[in-house]
């Protein structure tokens, strides 16, 4: 205990990184969380190495209505999961489709979080009319059934990747704002916030440096759940024909394109469904594991 320190410490980003890894290693103690992390990691790797993994070009029509396991006659190779009605290899489309989903879903979530956190901080910390106005806006947006809201937005601004991000940000930031606001209302009464105020820190510094880091636990859990939910949304929009424009593969869109043939060729719809469900499951299990761990401390 009597170690005397006389030298300035070096700023340690390495140490912070190791700490991050260590808290991640805590996941080992929750098998649910481990399964979730594994599923997510699996799809991230698939998305990263899509060009290496996909046996065929996802958009070229090769051989229509091939059953799973059939050989490709012209080009050689096997359609492990069969082909669709236009003759595109389903496995390759699923592999490339993971890229679409893992680009748009996190992007949309990050956008929604940025807006939601800023609104929540302002509403919770400032209170008063700022809170009233922001909360009323959130109430109004949240009173729309979500999908109705998406349909109206997409109907007016059109379907594209960028517009989907805008729609998701618009529709989910009020929910995030409510969570953040609740956390801030609790945290702003802590003595360390009062200490920062009494030394004359600016509002932004108090919100971002003193309050926000202490809300990270519940927010990380919520972000995982929300990522899963955003993936569902993107899938549903694709399924309803409001998603990304064809021909690039998108899991929800794949189901939409082939669902008329589902009775005769169930493999065309079944495999994309399994893909999207497993990724969502991954995020949901991860969230559950993280919550379990955060409750232990």
């Amino acid at each position: 205990m009597t170690t005397s320190i006389t030298e300035m410490p070096k700023a340690g980003y390495g140490a912070a990184f190791i700490r991050g890894l260590k808290s991640f290693a805590l996941l080992r103690e929750s098998w649910v969380g481990m399964v979730g992390a594994f599923l997510v990691l699996f799809w991230v790797l698939v998305a990263l190495f899509a060009p290496l993994l996909a046996p065929f070009d996802p958009n070229s029509s090769i051989q229509p209505f091939a059953k799973p396991g059939m050989e490709a006659i012209k080009t050689g190779g096997t359609f492990w999961l069969g082909t669709d009605h236009i003759g595109r290899d389903i496995l390759s489309r699923i592999i490339w489709g993971s890229r679409t989903v893992l680009i748009y879903a996190p992007l949309a979530t990050i956008c929604a979080y940025t807006v939601g956190i800023l609104m929540g901080l302002a509403a919770g910390y400032r209170g008063g009319w700022v809170d009233d106005v922001l909360s009323r806006i959130a109430d109004i947006i949240l009173s729309f059934p979500v999908l109705v809201l998406y349909i109206i937005i997409i109907a007016t601004i059109g379907a594209s990747g960028f517009n989907i991000i805008i729609a998701i940000t618009f529709a989910s930031s009020p929910g995030i704002m409510r969570i953040v606001r609740g956390l801030v209302l609790d945290l702003r009464n802590r003595d360390y916030v009062a200490a920062a105020q009494t030394r004359g820190e600016s509002d932004w510094r108090v919100m971002l440096v003193e309050i926000l880091p202490n809300a990270r636990g519940p927010l990380i859990v919520d972000a995982c759940l929300r990522l899963g939910y955003v993936i569902i949304t993107i899938g549903v929009l694709g399924f309803l024909g409001l998603g990304l424009p064809p021909p690039d593969p998108d899991w929800g869109g794949m189901v939409n394109e082939t669902r008329q043939m589902a009775m005769a060729f169930p493999h065309m719809t079944l495999f994309p469904c399994i893909a999207i469900s497993s990724l969502i499951l991954g995020f949901n299990l991860l969230a559950d594991g993280l919550r379990e761990i955060s409750l232990r401390d």
């Binding site: 979500v146 399924f239 469904c273 499951l281």
Partner: protein, 311 residues
């Protein structure tokens, strides 16, 4: 209490007006594209568009149009549907009724199921039963409605051939056709409600007043029924009321998939066909239902909670 209810209703009306304004701006003004083009299509010529605008009063000032539109709306004149070539109200009402039937059966099964499972798993947090229920809940919630519709169809329709694959009810109402749509909705949503119930129950079970009740020497059944449930079911009540809002989203996917002639499929059809009057009416009805249930949830919550009721 009276002020609270009055306030809630005031806010409800306010929300509806703001929503109508948003809808009007989004769909009826040039802000997001010419409505004439939206209705007549890109390949219409300017003459046709001008005629259309003249006929539907689109050349009048915006505010006047809004007030007229809102007035018509309030008096029940919802306009003409382009797609169905008839008054919107006539198209919408039977669809709403169909969705209400679907929603009723979904809730009738889901609520008792999820409350029971939630209470059971919250009673003994961390037990095997609790773990199984919660993992199962996560599993079912992770499968989007369209995916579970595909999977159930593959199983019950394609493989087992027990149930019909579409629910268009073309030959009159048939209960059998309702099973798959309702099943998909129940499977997707029960996990969420069950988990909310579980969380609430678990929190109550660790509370000090439950300890007091146990240490008073009350029978276990009385501890659960009299002391725990009364407090633990307050939060799920609100959650369930809010599921009506969710249901209005869920039915869109399910009705579309199973070709069920309901309200959700109608919204989608209106949107895909640029049937503006129909889309506006549907959206207003949807928001109205959602806001009403939310208001009822808030009022119910205060009724259930003596801490708010008497203060």
């Amino acid at each position: 209490m009276v002020t609270l209810i009055a306030k809630r209703f005031g806010f409800m009306v306010f929300t509806m007006i703001v929503v109508s304004l948003i809808l009007f701006i989004l769909l009826e003004t040039d802000l997001t594209g010419d409505p004439a083009i939206r209705v007549l299509g890109q390949f219409s010529n300017e003459e046709q568009r001008e005629l259309w605008r003249e006929k539907h009063g689109y050349n009048q000032p915006m505010l006047l149009r809004y007030v007229k539109w809102l007035g018509n709306f309030a008096t029940g004149d919802l306009g003409e549907s382009i797609r169905f070539k008839g008054p919107v109200a006539d198209v919408m009402l039977p669809r709403l009724w169909n969705t209400a039937i679907l929603g009723f059966w979904t809730f009738a099964i889901m609520i008792p199921l999820s409350l029971t499972l939630g209470v059971l798993s919250g009673m003994k947090e961390g037990s095997k039963l609790d773990r199984s229920i919660s993992v199962f809940g996560i599993l079912t919630t992770s499968v989007p409605e369209f995916a579970s519709a595909v999977i159930f169809s593959a199983l019950f329709v394609f493989t087992l051939k027990w149930l019909p694959g579409t629910s268009s009810m073309s030959g009159g109402f048939e209960f059998k056709q309702l099973i798959l749509p309702a099943l998909v909705l129940i499977v997707y949503d029960f996990g969420y409600v069950a988990r909310m119930t579980r969380a609430s129950m678990a929190e109550v079970m660790t509370s000090q007043y439950i300890r007091t009740a146990i240490l008073k020497g009350l029978p276990y059944k009385s501890v659960i029924v009299k002391h725990a449930l009364r407090n633990a079911l307050i939060a799920p009540f609100t959650v369930i009321m809010l599921q009506i809002n969710w249901l209005l989203s869920g039915v869109i996917v399910v009705e579309f998939f199973f070709a069920y002639k309901g309200f959700g499929a109608l919204i989608l059809e209106a949107s895909l066909n640029n049937d503006i009057a129909l889309l506006e009416a549907c959206a207003m009805v949807a928001v109205c239902v959602a806001v009403t249930t939310q208001t009822l949830a808030d009022i119910g919550y205060t009724f259930l909670n003596p801490r708010i009721r008497f203060s």
